[in-house]
């Protein structure tokens, strides 16, 4: 009886693994196939360049004195017409000189304004800061950039042209790790970013699936944000929440992979844990909130619903991998069929791991290849350790989420990622 139950559970877990396996391989092959097509700059692109709406850039910043000057200086160098730009820095109760540095730029450039939030108002997370900023926004398109980012000079032109299509409610650009050479952590994070932005997001955009707004290097129609009621302050992954609310409202998000922006990646494993814990817990909150809405929505196609479900549950996958080992290995050893010797059990377990769990690593490999970074592929085996680390992170996140539901506590502590400003040395232009 126990064996039958364990077998049924194991089969279910394997089916879910195969679903994600198929998803990752489809994405990788899609991007590879499309990379061979020459992307033409067609007439519609030229026409779209004539579309230059007024834009507001929101920069939420809390204790970012080491990086805020860099992004504000860069903003002044953007090629977008300054008379159509409004920059709002939300100084979210910073304890350092973030506000002072921002004020210096505001004095020199009249399109930059600063909102200072007091200790009582501020420190409640990025979503709250963005909502405070959007109340002062007057642009037709609202962009969000984190304080540690460093965009291309013409990034706004590339992102705003997508809004010529009335079905586009939001856009997302590509994130590139600036401080990649710093240490092993930054190099592995950069690999993850390559897989995510060069392959995963691009494939989802090409296939007409759910393209995710990543919280930064992206923008929305102002009217849509107002209609949706702004960012949800009760969810840690406010970007994922907004992504699904945009799609459920009947719009789509366009991914512009050549609209590039540098970011500063986390520099140690402790910071990695805090950041990914926040992402995992927030993503799981979104899964609980949007799962049935996605299934029932009349605004989503069947393939969008399938991809939406897989995307919502992606942070549960490391936990399911752990469960599959907990269930599968004893099953194999205690109830193995007669023809399998215990010593040969190593082979099917290894095959399952390599083909199933490591499918995302193929995205990383192909992403690095397409970027001309074949030497970076040599580091891919080290992603096994980040994967194991993520199993612990996601398990903790789910456990804490369930406990907070049981004891009725919110538990949404926004653990801010501290930026050192070490990325400055890698900027050569």
């Amino acid at each position: 009886m126990i064996a039958e139950i364990l077998e049924a559970v194991f089969i279910l877990l394997t089916v879910l693994m195969i679903a994600y396996l198929g998803r990752h391989y489809i994405f990788t092959l899609t991007v590879l196939k499309n990379s061979r097509k020459r992307e033409k700059f067609v007439t519609k692109e030229k026409l779209a360049l004539a579309y230059q709406p007024s834009v507001t850039i929101l920069i939420p910043a809390r204790d970012e004195e080491r990086v805020i000057g860099r992004i504000l200086q860069r903003i002044t160098e953007l090629t977008y017409p300054k008379d159509k730009m409004q920059i709002i820095v939300i100084d979210d109760a910073s304890a350092d000189n973030t506000g002072k540095i921002a004020e210096e730029y505001s004095k020199l450039h009249n399109y930059i304004q600063i909102i200072h939030r007091s200790k009582e108002e501020g420190g409640k997370g990025k979503a709250a800061a963005l909502n405070a900023g959007v109340m002062h926004a007057n642009g037709e398109i609202i962009f969000c950039f984190d304080a540690d980012y460093y965009p291309q000079k013409d990034i706004l032109e590339k992102l705003t042209k997508e809004f010529v299509d009335p079905k586009v409610g939001a856009v997302q650009g590509r994130v590139i790790v600036l401080n990649e050479p710093q240490n092993m952590v930054t190099r592995l994070v950069a690999l993850e970013r390559i897989g995510g932005y060069r392959v995963d997001q691009k494939a989802r955009d090409n296939l007409g699936l759910i393209t995710q707004f990543g919280g930064t290097v992206g923008g929305f129609r102002h009217s849509l944000i107002e209609c949706l009621g702004g960012w949800n302050e009760s969810i840690l992954a406010e970007d994922t929440d907004l992504t699904f609310r945009v799609y459920l409202a009947g719009y789509r998000i366009s991914y512009v992979y050549d609209a590039e922006c540098y970011e500063e990646a986390v520099e140690n494993w402790h910071a990695y844990w805090k950041q990914r814990y926040r992402w995992a817990k927030g993503h799981m909150q979104c899964a609980f909130k949007h799962l049935f809405k996605v299934l029932k929505s009349n605004n989503l196609t069947l393939k969008e619903k399938i991809d939406g479900l897989l995307l919502l549950n992606v942070y549960f996958m490391p936990i399911l991998v752990l469960l599959s080992y907990i269930v599968g290995v004893p099953l194999l050893f205690a109830y193995h069929p007669q023809w399998v010797s215990i010593c040969w059990a190593f082979i099917p377990i290894s095959l399952y791991s390599f083909v199933g769990n490591f499918a995302p690593f193929f995205e990383v490999g192909i992403g690095a290849y397409l970027d001309g970074r074949t030497r970076a592929q040599w580091l891919i085996p080290l992603l096994i350790f980040t994967f194991l680390y993520n199993i612990a992170i996601c398990t903790k996140a789910l456990t804490d989420l369930i406990m907070s539901k049981i004891i009725g506590k919110n538990g949404n502590n926004w653990a801010k990622t501290l930026h050192s400003g070490n990325g400055n040395i890698y900027i050569t232009n």
Partner: protein
Amino acid sequence: MPPTPNPIILVLGTAIFILLLFLPPLLELKKPKDAGPRMISDYSFSASFPIVNLEEKHGFDQALAKKIVDAISVLPNLEV
């Protein structure tokens, strides 16, 4: 039923496999040769593809030119 392999060979094989798996990353970390990170290109769209100044070329007045540009800019994306 397949024969049970020699445990020593199994352990040795596993060790060699792990060594081969992690040799490339160890080499790259010891002597990095990767060119990354990807350099952001900073060319300007408007400089590469200038929009014709109708006023200069055909003697149109600016208000008419603006109306034409505004009309074109709201056209939907017809490409499928």
